[in-house]
Amino acid sequence: MSRDEIAESVVLITGGSRGIGYATAEAALNQGASKVIIVARESQDLLEAEAKLKVIAKDPKRLGVIIADLGSSQGPLDVVKKLFHDKINVDHLINNAGYTKPAPLFEAELSDFKKTMSVNVYAPFLLLQELLRVGNNLSTVVNIASTAGIQGRSGWLTYSASKAALIALSESLRAELAGEGINVVCLSPGRCATDLRKTLAPEEDPNEIMQPEQVAQVIMMYLSGLGRLIDSENIVVRT
């Protein structure tokens, strides 16, 4: 059976080396998850995140790192293959990895748009589909969308479109997986101090906006039994 709690559960977080993903990994370890697995591309950030999380985890078995490029269609499948091979059942899937390269219509490249869709929409879809196909018992899926998916802004068209797609995808999944006992949650953070936000709004002071740790606390609430009590559609998180 899958778990409705954080303690003793296995949490898989994409984009776990920075921002909301990293803060969620920290929070899940602090709240007693039996294992937290972060998925990210190879980078200095990932090495640093791994080192910090190892200290929090204490027992090295509580931390897993899977290197994958979620922008490719093979990346998510490789992640599941690895989990299956290691006989790990994920209880909570946090689709957090995000990509953006903001550009106005006249400058936007189709290849960038496709990459945005791959990371922000197709990867969550593929990960979930493949996990369920191999027989993983899932309790919760949290898709990290964005308020940009509700209201567009000039120059953000590819990002906004991808997040709107993720919100709609989550709504469909909620209906489709309700009978399976899988709680599908869609969170749309507003302005949050992450690297992605810096790309979107380079002029902004990150100290004046919502912090990743605050979003992580909201995610933790959804992974607890309490999350089941909230009949959520897209939930906006902002300060």
Binding site: R3, E8, S9, V10, S34, K35, L83, F84, K87, I88, N89, D91, L132, R133, V134, G135, N136, N137, A175, E176, A178, G179, E180, G181, D231
Partner: protein, 248 residues
């Protein structure tokens, strides 16, 4: 916790385990479209998937056999793979009739260590874990579900034009699947029926004909048989309602 079960099944020595035979071999359809009705989609998901999912959540069911209508193996295999179920069920071809299909499936599992079989039909997608469990928990070996018949049933003559006999509604019941049986008793009865060349519309009547005791317990009215597009719409409504309750 944390370790995936995948294809493993927890076999407890103190617990009787069951084999589920899922009847999925019918070719007939009142839906039109030239597809077997088991492929009709309920909330976009093929009808036969629902029964499999329900059965997979019952810990006492350790083996599942599903049959498929002649010529439709690739379609069903493909869907089972899509839904992550291919490794968890066994497929076998259907017979020339429902009765022949059951006999073939019993033959297929005759050497299984599970002495008890559950028989269900894919056309009843609203079956859930609790239905199977109620049947399993009830003591007898040959047990089925029945619900009341709310309307009058009469027996006509062979020309179907004159009333032959009125029937006491209080003694009649609407027979629902799933049912459970002692596998060897049912298999023996099926072999005799084949050699006697007699046919029955379902297995309770068949096993009873050959002298076995068949018991009935109260079924669930929601466990409807989906045979036409009106049933399909009702099933979608019932699933939506069930999912809402699931949430609540």
């Amino acid at each position: 916790m944390g370790h995936i079960q995948f294809k493993e099944v927890f076999l407890r020595k103190d617990k009787l385990m069951y084999t589920l035979l899922l009847l999925n071999g019918g070719l007939g359809s009142r839906f039109g479209g030239g597809e077997p009705k088991q492929l009709v989609r309920i909330n976009q998901i093929p009808m036969f998937i629902y029964s499999l999912r329900a059965a997979l959540s019952v810990s006492a069911i350790s083996r599942i056999v599903i049959n498929y209508p002649s010529g439709w193996k690739p379609t069903f295999k493909h869907l089972l793979r899509d839904y992550g179920l291919l490794e968890r069920v066994e497929m076998t071809s259907a017979g020339s009739s429902r009765q022949d299909s059951v006999r073939k499936m019993l033959d297929y599992v005759k050497d299984d260590k599970n002495q008890l079989v559950l028989i269900h039909e894919a056309a009843r997608p609203l079956v859930d874990e609790a239905d199977f469990q109620k049947l399993i928990d009830f003591g007898g070996e040959n047990v089925g579900f029945s619900i009341e018949i709310p309307f009058t049933v009469l027996e006509l003559d062979e020309g179907k034009s004159c009333l032959q006999k009125s029937l006491d509604r209080n003694l009649l019941c609407n027979v629902q699947l799933p049912q459970k049986f002692n596998r060897d008793s049912l298999y023996k009865a099926h072999k005799r029926a084949a050699s006697d060349n007699v046919s029955f519309t379902e297995d309770a009547s068949l096993i009873h004909h050959y002298g076995e005791k068949m018991q009935f317990i109260e079924g669930f009215p929601e466990n409807i048989k989906v045979t036409n597009s009106i049933d399909r719409r009702i099933a979608e409504f019932l699933f939506d309602e069930k999912n809402r309750h699931h949430d609540e």
